[in-house]
Structure formats: structure tokens, C-alpha cells
């Protein structure tokens, strides 16, 4: 079943067409990687799916519902979690606090709950959220760092914390924007297993990544973007041998590691 469908999605910034008529679908339960040289429009696609940019034309559907152009928090409400290419943690807060905030949608009490914290219902909810947050931290091996300041974590840990925060909203679809960037080979291997475990728990994963070894090792399918156009789509072995893909990478100086 198609979870996310992009249908002829185009976005222009001034005179620049960053994404040009891209269509593909993400199937329930798969890991789909989006690859392409720098500036191919991968992050822009993510930002359109999550409502930060509004496509100039085209449709984005999630579970058959139109998504394109709605407010950014709507995507989360529909069950789409994401991480950011340039890490966007709540730097001044503790690790646990970051994940608790990520679990925002699992709670219901707003201002009333804030003013009446002694209500048993409010306390039960806080307890539930805390438990869930700790559980999510455990999934990315950060439970021991719960009380550290998010800004004090190492780069790789911060990337994992972003994943934990996105997991906290119990998404159906998880968008990972260059999750392995800046990680050493050991960390990448751990991350690979982590992402597999996330998929196995029933969460569909759409990821952007430059590290070809990582992409080839983890993806069920791959979509290749070049200059805003989808030039290839298929299982890793098909994409690896696709002449157009090779040309795209070599033509731009070969920043891939395939």
C-alpha cells in the first residue's frame, strides 16, 4: 500500500526550479532512500512533505489525504516525523526534555493541565509521556544521557537524539535527513541496525543520505534525483548499475562513494 505519494511535485524559488515534476511513492513498511548530488532537491522535497515549503504545483498525499501546502505541524499530526540535515535540537534543554517535547502529540492537557498540575489525570499523562520518552531514548541508546544538555552531546549522539525526538511522536512515516552525516564507521553501523529495527517495528522510513555504503546496505528501494528531476528508481542493484545515475554522479565531480 502506498503510504506517501508524490505526484508531479514542482517548486520554484524565483527563477530557480529546485524540484521539477517529481513523482514517486513510498510503500508501507519499506525503507526508501532518496539520493542525488548536492543541490538535487532532496531536502527541499522533505521540506515540502513536512509543510515548510508549499509546492508550486503538484500533489503530495499521505494515506490518500492531501498534504501539500498545509501548516508544518499538520504533517506531524498526520503521523510524519522527521529529522533535520542541520541539527535542530532544543539546545538549551536536557536530552530527556527534547524527547518529551517530541511526544507533544501523545498528550492532551494544555493550559488547563499546566495550571492544575495536581489533577490525577494530568499527573497520569505526565507519567505516561515520561515513560514513553525514556523508551524512545532507549531505542537510540541514549537513555544514560537523559539529563545531559542536548548541546553537550557529540555530533553523532545529537543525530540520534533527533531520531528519538521524531520517534516520540509515534510516526507512521519517519523522514531522516542525512542521518549518518558526520558519524564514524562504527556509529554508522549501529545507526544502520537502529534504522532497521525502527522499520521492523512498523515505521516506514524515507531517508536522504550521501553515504552510498549506508544507502545500499539499508534501502529496499532508491529514488535518484538530479537537478530537481527524478532520473531513476529501483532496488539498490538496479540503481547502482544505471548509466544515468553514474553519469549524474561522475558529471558533478563524483561526490558519491558508490
Amino acid at each position: 500500500m502506498a503510504l506517501l505519494e508524490l505526484d508531479n511535485v514542482t517548486i520554484r524559488f524565483g527563477g530557480l526550479t529546485a524540484v521539477d515534476g517529481v513523482s514517486f511513492t513510498v510503500q508501507q513498511g519499506e525503507i526508501l532512500a532518496l539520493i542525488g548530488p548536492n543541490g538535487a532537491g532532496k531536502s527541499t522535497l522533505f521540506n515540502m512533505v513536512t509543510g515548510i515549503y508549499r509546492p508550486t504545483s503538484g500533489q503530495i498525499r499521505f494515506r490518500g489525504m492531501r498534504l501539500a501546502g498545509s501548516a508544518p505541524h499538520r504533517a506531524a499530526l498526520c503521523g510524519i516525523g522527521r529529522t533535520f540535515q542541520n541539527i535542530r535540537l532544543f539546545q538549551s534543554q536536557s536530552v530527556l526534555h527534547n524527547v518529551l517535547t517530541g511526544a507533544h502529540l501523545r498528550g492532551r492537557w494544555g493550559l488547563t493541565g499546566a495550571l492544575l498540575p495536581f489533577l490525577p489525570a494530568v499527573q497520569r499523562e505526565e507519567g505516561r509521556l515520561l515513560e514513553h520518552a525514556v523508551h524512545c531514548l532507549g531505542r537510540v541508546n541514549l537513555a544514560t544521557k537523559a539529563y545531559e544538555a542536548a548541546g553537550s552531546l557529540s555530533y553523532g549522539e545529537q543525530r540520534r537524539l533527533e531520531i528519538a525526538r521524531a520517534l516520540a511522536l509515534s510516526p507512521a512515516l519517519l523522514l531522516l535527513d542525512e542521518p549518518a552525516a558526520g558519524m564514524n564507521p562504527n556509529e554508522k553501523q549501529t545507526l544502520l541496525e537502529m534504522v532497521r529495527a525502527i522499520r521492523d517495528s512498523g515505521i516506514t522510513v524515507l531517508l536522504v543520505e550521501h553515504d552510498m555504503r549506508f544507502v545500499m546496505g539499508i534501502s529496499d528501494r532508491i529514488v535518484v534525483l538530479d537537478h530537481g528531476v527524478a532520473i531513476a528508481e529501483g532496488v539498490p542493484d538496479e540503481v547502482r548499475t544505471n548509466p544515468q545515475v553514474i553519469a549524474a554522479y561522475l558529471g558533478t565531480g563524483g561526490d558519491g562513494h558508490a
Binding site: 531536502s43 521540506n47 515548510i52
Partner: protein
């Protein structure tokens, strides 16, 4: 009647424009609302008053002296209160700017007292003359002419000199300008100097126009000039001039229509409306949200 109001409005508006230019140039380069800019204007007015009143200098010399003093003050304020915060949050820099503004206006109150002071009567002997049926004072003409000359000078500096070119580069892209070997610290100081000099000239002109210089004149004039800068499109030099003139004309018209007790609200209503409807102003550029 119409021409009369128009000239009144342009005279008032050109003083707003002189102050607005400082806001807009500084904002263009370091994206800071220089909250103390109104106080630099006030300081210029006081120095002009001192030079003209106590040292009996000619009004133009007094204005030149005020401009030099304010340049130094503006550069000093930037060095002490803004430069250390260049990489901090915008909130911190703005709060620091508010601090400078409070400090300077209170200092002026302690030095010169809480009462407004006037320029000596002979500072500029103003006459009324008739132009196409409108009563115009030579003082208003002086203000308009002086402002026009200063703006022309600014235009020449920004467009024709090397430093001006560097200024425009820094306002286009601060980081890239730094990477290209432009000494951005110098450019920022230079921008503050230029803006402060214009504000001081505006201060002296306003002081003579209303025959009143007081410690708290900076806040209101500053905010109105800021409104003018926003109206024209913050960051845009012609925008600041246009915004200042429009604001001056609107205020004068409002007063002429009998809304004098609402006068101070006019600028703020314009400010709020422009921010809500078209935050990039009349001549400003739209910015793309970056993620």
C-alpha cells in the same frame, strides 16, 4: 493650502528621513534595530545647541560639530554594546540596544535637566516668504535643502566610493563580504558613523524647527523614524527617504484635519499596518525562509 501642507510635511518628513537612514543602513548590514539611534539624534541636538548657544557658533558649524560628535558616539556605542554580541541571539543585541538608549537619555537628563531647551533666537533668523500662495518659512526651506544635500552626499558615498561599495556588499551578504577580504568590522563602524552623522544633523534641524531640545526627544523621534524606515522597506536607502517623507506628510495632514491629539498614533498605526500587510515595506526585498 495644499502646497502649504505639502511643504510642512516635507520639512518634517525630511528630518524623519535623516534619522531613518541610520536605522536602515545598520539593519541592512547587521540586522539589528539600533534602538539607541534616537538617542544619538538627541545627543546631536544637544551638542548643536551647546555649540550654537554657548560657543555662539554659526548654525552650520554647530551642525558639523554635532555630526562629528555623534559619529564618535555612534561608533563607540557599537563597539561597546553591540560588537561583543555580534554572534549572540538577536534578542540579546536588541535588549543591549534598549539599555544604551535608556543610559544615554538618562545621562542627558542628568546633564541638561528635565526641561526642554530652545536654540537662541539668532541661531537662524527665519523669515516667512510667499511661494505660489503658500506661507513658507526660510527655516523649512533650509531644512529641506540641508536634508537633500546630506542625502545626496550619502548617495555619492554609498554608490561611488570603495567603502560604499564594500558597505553594499556587506549588506548583501555579510559572511561572503568577510570572506572576500572586506574588513567588515570597519564597515560596520563606518555605517554607524554615517548613520549617526545624519541623525545628528536631523537633531539640530528638529531642535531649530520646534525650538526645543530635550532629553526624551530621542525615543519618539527614533520610533517614528523607524516606522518610516519600515514603511519604505528596511534595508533600502531610497525606501527610508520615501518612508520619511510619506510619514511627515501624513502626520501634517492628520494634524491639519484636526486630529492633533492623535498625532503620535499615526506613525504607529502606519508601522503596525505595514508590518502586518507588507513587512518588506514599499521598496524592500522579500526574504526567503531558510531551513
Amino acid at each position: 493650502m495644499f502646497l502649504q501642507q505639502l511643504i510642512n510635511g516635507v520639512a518634517l518628513g525630511s528630518t524623519y528621513a535623516l534619522i531613518a537612514l541610520g536605522y536602515t543602513m545598520v539593519y541592512g548590514i547587521i540586522a539589528l534595530i539600533n534602538f539607541a539611534h534616537g538617542e544619538i539624534f538627541m545627543a546631536g541636538a544637544f551638542v548643536g545647541l551647546l555649540l550654537a548657544g554657548v560657543f555662539k557658533l554659526n548654525l552650520f558649524l554647530a551642525m558639523a560639530g554635532a555630526m562629528v560628535f555623534s559619529m564618535a558616539l555612534g561608533v563607540g556605542v557599537e563597539f561597546i554594546a553591540y560588537r561583543p554580541l555580534r554572534n549572540s541571539s538577536r534578542l540579546s543585541a536588541l535588549i543591549s540596544a534598549i539599555g544604551v538608549s535608556l543610559f544615554l537619555s538618562t545621562l542627558a537628563m542628568l546633564l541638561f535637566g528635565a526641561n526642554a531647551r530652545g536654540f537662541p533666537a539668532n541661531a537662524f533668523p527665519s523669515r516667512q516668504i510667499q511661494i505660489l500662495g503658500a506661507e513658507v518659512s526660510t527655516l523649512q526651506l533650509l531644512i529641506i535643502a540641508t536634508s537633500a544635500c546630506l542625502m545626496l552626499a550619502l548617495e555619492l558615498i554609498v554608490k561611488r566610493t570603495r567603502t560604499g561599495k564594500a558597505m553594499r556588499a556587506a549588506s548583501e551578504d555579510y559572511t561572503a563580504a568577510a570572506l572576500m577580504g572586506i574588513n567588515v568590522n570597519f564597515i560596520v563602524s563606518f555605517t554607524f558613523a554615517l548613520g549617526s552623522a545624519l541623525a545628528a544633523a536631523g537633531g539640530v534641524l528638529v531642535g531649530v524647527l520646534f525650538n526645543s531640545v530635550s532629553f526624551n526627544m530621542g525615543l519618539n523621534a527614533g520610533i517614528k523614524a523607524f516606522a518610516a524606515a519600515v514603511l519604505g522597506g528596511i534595508g533600502s536607502i531610497p525606501g527610508a527617504v520615501l518612508g520619511g517623507l510619506l510619514l511627515g506628510i501624513t502626520e501634517v495632514t492628520g494634524v491639519a484635519l484636526g486630529y492633533s491629539s492623535w498625532r503620535d498614533a499615526i506613525a504607529f498605526v502606519i508601522l503596525v499596518l505595514v508590518l502586518l500587510v507588507r513587512p518588506s515595506g514599499l521598496l524592500g526585498q522579500k526574504m526567503q525562509k531558510k531551513v
